[in-house]
Amino acid sequence: MSEGHAQCIVPEEVLKKVLKAAMMTGADFAEVFIEDTSTETITMEDGRIENVNSGRDRGAGVRVIKGETSSYCFTDSLEEKDLLQAARTAAGALSGARGDYTIDLTRREVPVISPIAKYPWETTKAVKAEFLLRADRAARAYDPLIRQVTGALLEIVRNTTIANSEGILAADSVVRSRFTVSALAAKTGVLQTGSATIGKTRGLEILDIKTPEELGKDAARQAIVNVHASPAPSGPMTVVMTNGWGGVLFHEACGHSLEADGILRGSSVFAGKIGQKVASECVTAVDDPTIPNEWGSFGVDDEGNPGKRTVLIENGILKNYMYDRKSAVKAKHEFTGNGRRQSYRYIAIPRMTNTFIAPHTSKAEDILADTPDGLYAKGLRGGQVNSATGDFVFNVSEAYLIKNGKLGDAVRGATLIGNGLKTLAEIDAVADDLDFGPGNCGKGGQSVPAACGQPALRIRRITVGGTQRRPAERRG
C-alpha cells in the first residue's frame, strides 16, 4: 500500500456505471459505498490462546435519495453485476424515470491522519499470541487472588471507497488496533473484575505506548481493589473523575443529544439552543476525527466528506451540532464529517468520532485536594442515554471515597445517574490533563469505534446509585 493514497477498491469506470444505474429512476442523489475490511481477533483465556479468527467483510451499499425518501440496498460482493443489481434495486424502490445521465468523478485528496508504524501483517500471529500470554502472566503475578485472566487483540484494516452523484470520489484506509485484558479476583465468595484497554488508530505500536505487562497488571490491580472494596454509597454526592475514558460521561450525557438527526426531529434537549448557555463556563466540548492516531480518527467519513474539528460547546455556550449528509442538507449546514456507518450493510447516520471536554486551567491534584467529601471515579465502564430527556447512566469500575481532599476507602458497584443539561451546569472544575479511551458506540443497531476523552474534572452534585445508604441520607 502506498502510504497516504488509499486505493480505489473498485475501478472508477464501474463506480460511474453504478451511479448511473442508481440515478435511473430520477433520484436527486445517489451514492455508492464500497468496503473491504479485514479483521483479526486473537483471544486468550486461562493462559491459553482460545480463538484465532480472521475475517473479511467485503461489499457495497448503494443509497438513492429522492425528495424525503432514501432507498438503500447492499450486496456482499464487489462484482460489477452485483453492484449494478444493488443499484437497480435501490433505484427501483423509487418511482420515476430519467433519460440519459452522465457523471464525472473527481478524486478527493484524503489526508493521512494516522500514520501506521507496525501494520498487522508485519507481525506473525505467534508473536501476537505471545503478547497476550505476557499480559496473563503479569496479571497473575500481581496477586494470588487473581483467578482468571482473559485478553483479546483486535486488529482491523478498513478500506473504503465512496463515490456520489455530485462527482465526489474518495478513498480511505484506516488501521485500528485494540488490546484488552480483564482479570477476575475471588475472595470468600466475592468475585470482582478489573480491566485495562488500549485502542488507537495505529498498528501494534500501541503496545509500545502501554506494554502487555502494564495492561495485565492494571487489570489485576483494579480487580483486587474491587474485591477488597465496600459497597458503594447511594444518594447525591460530589464526584471527581480522572482524565481519559471518563469522557464517556460527556459522550452519554450530551454527545448523543448533539447529533443532528435527533436535533432536526426536535427529539433532543439541545434542539434550538445554539448560542445559549448550556454548561458551566469551564466546559468546552469538541468532536474531532482529525486527531492523529486516536481511536475514532479517519480521513473522510463514510459519506466521503473530510473529517473536521467541530467545537460543540465553547466556554459553556452551545455552538454546533454533528451532521451527516442528510441532516446537513436539510438544515442547510456545512458538512461536519460525522456521517458514519458500521459497515456497508448500513446507511450512514450522524455519529461522534473522538469527542472530548477540552483542557482547562485547573490541576488534577488541586481539584481532589479542594474536595472535602465525595466520590473519586477512577475507572468507568460504559453508559447509556435517553437523548430526548437527557437522562443518562454510567457505571463506575473503580471508585474511592474522598475524605478531606484525600482518597479514602475503595467502593464498588457504583452507578452515576443524572441529566445531561443539569450535569453540564454542575461541572465546576476542569483540569489540563486531557486523555482518551477507546469505545464502541452503539446507535440505531450500528456500532462504530468512538473515542471519549476528558481532563480530570469535578461534578458538584450527581446521584450515585449504590446499595449502601449513607447514614446522613437515611430516612425514617
Binding site: T43, R48, I49, E50, N51, V52, N53, S54, G55, R56, D57, G59, G67, E68, T69, S70, S71, Y72, C73, F74, T75, D76, S77, L78, K125, A126, L184, V190, L191, Q192, T193, A232, S234, G235, P236, R265, G266, R345, I347, R381, G382, G383, Q384, A388, T389, D391, V393, N395, R412, G413, T415, N419, T463, V464, G465, G466, T467, R469, E473, R475
Partner: protein, 442 residues
C-alpha cells in the same frame, strides 16, 4: 455461490481433516415512515460463511462475507493457519450426527407474498394512528415495518448437513410526548411469524401509553422498595442471567451459579425454560450452530437450578453431551447461549400484581444494564431506571432519574409475584416483582 460439500473436499485436500461450515443467508426488507413520507426503504440479500477447522487438536476460525469459491477457499486456508496458533486440546471436536432432528415450521408464505405497498401503507397508517391517540403526543418519531427471511446451513466433515429456513415480520413505533417543556419518548414493537399476526394498533398503544405514563417523571426519595419489572426489562435481566447458566461460564469461573446444580437459586415461582419449538420467539430452530439437535430444557424449575447449557467443547470438558446450545454469528466464535428462552408466566395479571404492592416501583425502562450495570460474575446490579411509583396498590406518579441496585441472587430469591403478561422479544418474559431493592433518587 460455492458448493459446501466441495469445500469440505478442498479442506481435506489441504490436509485439514475436520472442518465445519456455517452459512447464513438472509433477505431483508424494511421501510421507515416519518411525517407522512417514506423516509427509508431498504431491501438486501445478505450472506456470510463461517469456517472452523481442527488441525492437530487445535481450533482455527475464519469468515467471509463474500461467498464465492475463491473467497471461501481463502477462508479455509486462513482458518487452518489460525489453528497453528491456538492452544491444542484433545477435547476439541465437531458434532457427529446421531438421532433425529425435530421439525419446526417457522415459515409463513404471507410474509413473502405481502407487496411492498401494503407494508408501506401499514407504516403510514401507524403513524397517522399514533398522532391521533392523545394531544400530549407531540410527535411521532418514526414507524417501521420490516420482513426478514433467514436460513442457516451447517455442514461438517463428520456428516452433519442440515439447513433451516424461517421468516418473520416486525413493526415498531416511536412517539414523543411533551408537556410543560418536558419531553418523553415511548416505543412499542412486535415480532410476528406471520404478516396477518401483526397488530399495529396494539404497538401504537404500547408506545403512546409508555410515553404518557413516564411523562413528567421525577426522582423519588432514596429508599428500599418492591420492584416490578415490566416484560421488556424482565427480558434483559433473564437474558443476562442465562449467560451465567452455561457449562462454559462455570468452567471459566464466570458464573455465580457454579456448584449450585439442584439447589434453590430463585423463588419457587420461577421456572426458566429454553424451548426451541415455540415459534413465537426469535430463536426457534431445530439445531444449534454446530448442527446439534435442539431440545426443550428447563434451566430453573420451581426455583431449583436444573441444568447448565453446553456446546460440544464445553460438554466434552465436563464429560457430558452437548445440550444443543452452540450459538454464533458468521463473524464470531461459537459461544454457549440459550436459543429461545422463556420465563413461565404466573396466574395474576399485572394489574393484580400492582394492586397488591404497598410501596413499590414499576420499572418500565432501564439504562446501562448491558454496559456494566449488571455484573454477571458477582451478580451486582445497579442501573438507571424509569417507571411509575406505586403506593397502596395504586400508581401515584411517574419516576425517572433514579437507580435501582441489588444483587441478582437476592432479587431472584425475593421474587414474590410473576404475572401472566408473557411477551416475546428476544426471549419470552412476563412482568415479575421482587420484594426489595435499593432505589437511589433524591
Amino acid at each position: 455461490m460455492v458448493d459446501l460439500k466441495s469445500l469440505l473436499d478442498y479442506a481435506a485436500s489441504l490436509g485439514v481433516r475436520e472442518t465445519e461450515l456455517y452459512l447464513e443467508e438472509s433477505n431483508t426488507w424494511g421501510c421507515r415512515v416519518y411525517q407522512g413520507e417514506v423516509e427509508n426503504l431498504q431491501a438486501s440479500q445478505g450472506r456470510g460463511l463461517g469456517v472452523r477447522v481442527i488441525v492437530d487438536k487445535a481450533l482455527g476460525i475464519a469468515y467471509t462475507s463474500d461467498v464465492s469459491e475463491e473467497s471461501a477457499r481463502e477462508a479455509i486456508s486462513r482458518a487452518a493457519e489460525n489453528a497453528r496458533i491456538s492452544a491444542p486440546d484433545e477435547l476439541r471436536c465437531f458434532y457427529a450426527p446421531e438421532g433425529e432432528y425435530p421439525t419446526i415450521d417457522a415459515w409463513s408464505q404471507d410474509i413473502e407474498d405481502t407487496p411492498a405497498e401494503t407494508k408501506i401503507r401499514m407504516a403510514l397508517d401507524m403513524e397517522a394512528m399514533a398522532k391521533r391517540k392523545n394531544e400530549r403526543i407531540q410527535k411521532v418519531l418514526g414507524t417501521s415495518v420490516g420482513t426478514r427471511s433467514h436460513s442457516v446451513t451447517v455442514v461438517n466433515s463428520k456428516g452433519v448437513n442440515v439447513s433451516f429456513k424461517s421468516n418473520s415480520a416486525t413493526i415498531s413505533c416511536q412517539v414523543l410526548a411533551a408537556e410543560n417543556g418536558v419531553m418523553q419518548p415511548g416505543s412499542g414493537a412486535q415480532f410476528s411469524r406471520s404478516f396477518s399476526g401483526l397488530n399495529p394498533e396494539k404497538v401504537v398503544d404500547e408506545a403512546v401509553q409508555k410515553a404518557l405514563n413516564l411523562l413528567g417523571g421525577k426522582p423519588v426519595e432514596s429508599q428500599d422498595a418492591s420492584v416490578i419489572f415490566c416484560p421488556e426489562v424482565s427480558a434483559i435481566i433473564w437474558q443476562m442471567l442465562a449467560s451465567t447458566l452455561t457449562g462454559e461460564a462455570v468452567q471459566k469461573k464466570r458464573s455465580m451459579f457454579a456448584g449450585m446444580l439442584g439447589q434453590k437459586v430463585a423463588s419457587e415461582l420461577v421456572s426458566l425454560i429454553d424451548d426451541p419449538f415455540n415459534v413465537d420467539g426469535y430463536g426457534a430452530s431445530p439445531f444449534d450452530a454446530e448442527g446439534v439437535p435442539r431440545k426443550r430444557m428447563a434451566l430453573i424449575e420451581d426455583g431449583v437450578l436444573k441444568a447448565f447449557m453446553y456446546d460440544c467443547y464445553s460438554a466434552a470438558k465436563d464429560g457430558v453431551k452437548s445440550t444443543g446450545h452452540a450459538s454464533r454469528r458468521v463473524q464470531s466464535a461459537v459461544q454457549v447461549a440459550p436459543c429461545n428462552l422463556y420465563l413461565k408466566p404466573g396466574t395474576l395479571t399485572l394489574e393484580e400484581v400492582v394492586a397488591s404492592t404497598k410501596n413499590g416501583f414499576l420499572v418500565m425502562d432501564v439504562s446501562g444494564i448491558t454496559v456494566g450495570g449488571l455484573n454477571p460474575v458477582s451478580g451486582d446490579l445497579s442501573v438507571g431506571a424509569s417507571g411509575r411509583w406505586i403506593t397502596g396498590g395504586k400508581f401515584v406518579g411517574p419516576v425517572r432519574e433514579v437507580t435501582i441496585a441489588g444483587n441478582l441472587k437476592d432479587i431472584l430469591l425475593g421474587i414474590d409475584a410473576v404475572a401472566s403478561d408473557l411477551k416475546w422479544t428476544n426471549i419470552g418474559t412476563p412482568s415479575f416483582r421482587t420484594a426489595k431493592m435499593a432505589v437511589s433518587g433524591k
